[in-house]
């Protein structure tokens, strides 16, 4: 099974890296300029690297460490219709090669985001993907309408998979029909590229992916966190303020790569892959499995310049291996 050509970028010329070395008249070996540009369901990205929602704030937090102009896209913290307080602390716990979090979608609400956070992001020449969540279909619809009217929103990533909130969240994400319903409602209310972010806490990721594709998603983001927990053997109580939390980081990478692989082979939508990407090698693993683009999450906490290193590392890998277009790597492990 292959992807339709129109899901791949058709404007490679715009996306040439401007590495001066590539423009030298005489070169020791043939080193073609490499195309890093990808098209994620209508969202044109100058390279395949974005940030994972909830790990990169609204952009300014990491600006001292990351040149926001160099990112393929910026994905911001999940936004809801009303402001949310989130869960009690502790909200984070370290586990072997991973972290559990139960932030609980703390956010200032969509109107605050549009008024206070979006203007900052408009200063950058980088598309903004807004992650949205809701308690009800009406919430999703209303958030979608408000963001679709706002200047500077390039795509919506629909979180139907957050394990850290009582209503909505994972209930939508793990039930095929509900997941499709959410996507249908969002689709009816926006012309923006629509990325459906799926929960990995399901028996059959391919089935859900197929349903949300039919419901009108332009791309799929996977994976969100695995539901986990930790118990403090000293207090004999759950460690996290919300009992359970979402597991992210390198520990979950094998599961994420597997789900990207399975979904990419079965569903004709471009995939935004994530889950434990720490460096360029990990990112390339996702791309080879079938991800058209990747998101960097937990790695930001460990290395605030991770996204920059990953963009540079993918480019280097392509040059070292004579790959001229990153799109040629997408799904190369099975195509």
């Amino acid at each position: 099974m292959t992807k339709p050509a129109d899901n791949l970028t058709d404007k490679p010329a715009d996306n040439l890296t401007d590495n001066p070395a590539d423009n030298l008249a005489v070169k020791p070996a043939v080193k073609p300029a490499v195309n890093l540009g990808v098209n994620l369901g209508g969202l044109q990205m100058k390279n395949p690297v974005t940030t994972a929602s909830g790990t990169f704030g609204f952009g300014p937090e990491y600006a001292p460490y990351v040149d926001l102009n160099r990112l393929g896209a910026i994905t911001v913290k999940g936004t809801t219709l009303e402001p949310r307080k989130g869960n009690p602390t502790p909200r984070i716990a370290e586990t072997p090669a991973g972290i559990l979090n139960c932030i609980g979608l703390q956010n200032p609400g969509v109107d605050h985001f549009i008024a206070e956070d979006l203007p900052y992001l408009r200063n950058y020449d980088t598309p903004v993907i807004v992650n949205i969540a809701g308690n009800s279909l009406d919430d999703y619809a209303e958030v979608t309408r408000r963001l679709s009217g706002a200047q500077g929103v390039s795509a919506l990533e629909v979180n139907i998979s957050c394990p850290n909130v009582k209503q909505g969240g994972m209930v939508f994400g793990t039930d095929c029909l509900m997941a499709a319903e959410v996507i249908r409602v969002v689709r009816e209310n926006t012309k923006l590229p629509l990325i459906a972010k799926l929960s990995p806490n399901v028996t059959d990721i391919v089935e859900i992916a197929g349903r949300v594709a039919e419901a009108g998603a332009d791309a799929l983001a996977l994976i969100n966190t695995l539901l986990g927990m930790k118990i403090d053997i000293r207090t004999r109580k759950p460690f996290l303020g919300n009992t359970m939390g979402g597991l992210s980081g390198p520990a979950i990478r094998p599961v994420a790569v597997r789900m990207v692989w399975q979904t990419a082979r079965a569903v004709r939508l471009p995939i935004l892959g994530m889950g434990g990407i720490m460096n360029a090698e990990d990112a390339i693993e996702f791309i080879l499995a079938g991800a058209a683009a990747v998101a960097v999450g937990t790695a930001n906490f460990v290395n605030p310049g991770a996204a920059m290193d990953i963009i540079a590392g993918i480019e280097q890998y392509m040059k070292d291996n004579g790959v001229t277009d990153v799109n040629d790597l997408v799904g190369a492990a099975w195509k």
Binding site: G54, T55, F56, G57, E61, Y62, P64, Y65, K77, E82, P83, K85, G86, P88, T89, P90, R91, I92, A93, E94, P96, A97, G98, I99, N101, I103, Q106, G109, G249, P250, M278, T298, N300, F301, V302, N303, P304
Partner: protein, 251 residues
Amino acid sequence: MRVYVPQLTKLAKPGQFVHVRCSSGLDPLLRRPISLHGIDYGKGTISLLYQVVGTGTRLLAEMAPGDEIDVMGPLGKGFTVPDGIKKALVVGGGIGVAPLFPLIHSLKHYGIQQTVLLGARSADFIIGREQLELLGVKVKIATDDGSLGYKGFVTRLAEDEISGGTPDYFFACGPNPMLKGLISLTKGFGLSGQVSLEEYMGCGVGACLACVCKSKAAAGREPDDSAEGFEYKKVCVDGPVFEASEVILDD
């Protein structure tokens, strides 16, 4: 541990912290927040004082002089010394004295009188007493087991100081129960001050919302917030130092 980081040191203020990577591998994965304990603007070095409690701090302790270390910072809002204060009370519990040292230097620099109270489980956990005395600062000690100084909580020493009437401001860092006690005590006496808080951190830069603490809701916030009477602030960027009157500590 002393670290040579001239760019960082230039910007450093008392009460701020650095986010330290303890391993180049994945174990442990997250960085560890450690307060600036000493700031040598001349040499371009900061020093860190830490207690070995788990994997991260153990790996720090195993480092050898000359090794490279990956630190982010300075992070957070430090202590501010309000205009007009004359006599400050500085209270440190356990390893909480670490960030108080640069503050104490500042206070001395500004010519503000100060009494430093140190509390800990036992004499072994009282840190920095000699250095402070060398600095000519008045130090009083309390230990839970009475192995040094007053036997009991350092908050009791604080009560004595405050009811003695001398301090017009306080600064504190230590375990939450100590801070809680101190906040209610000083509130009773109408004494203002600043406290430095700890919370589990992810990013250290305000991006992940892991490290929040409860803060009294500002007036005129949306109903949801005022209903529960608090909003969450981020310890890493809104703190770690907060106005004592502002924070709400659950046990």
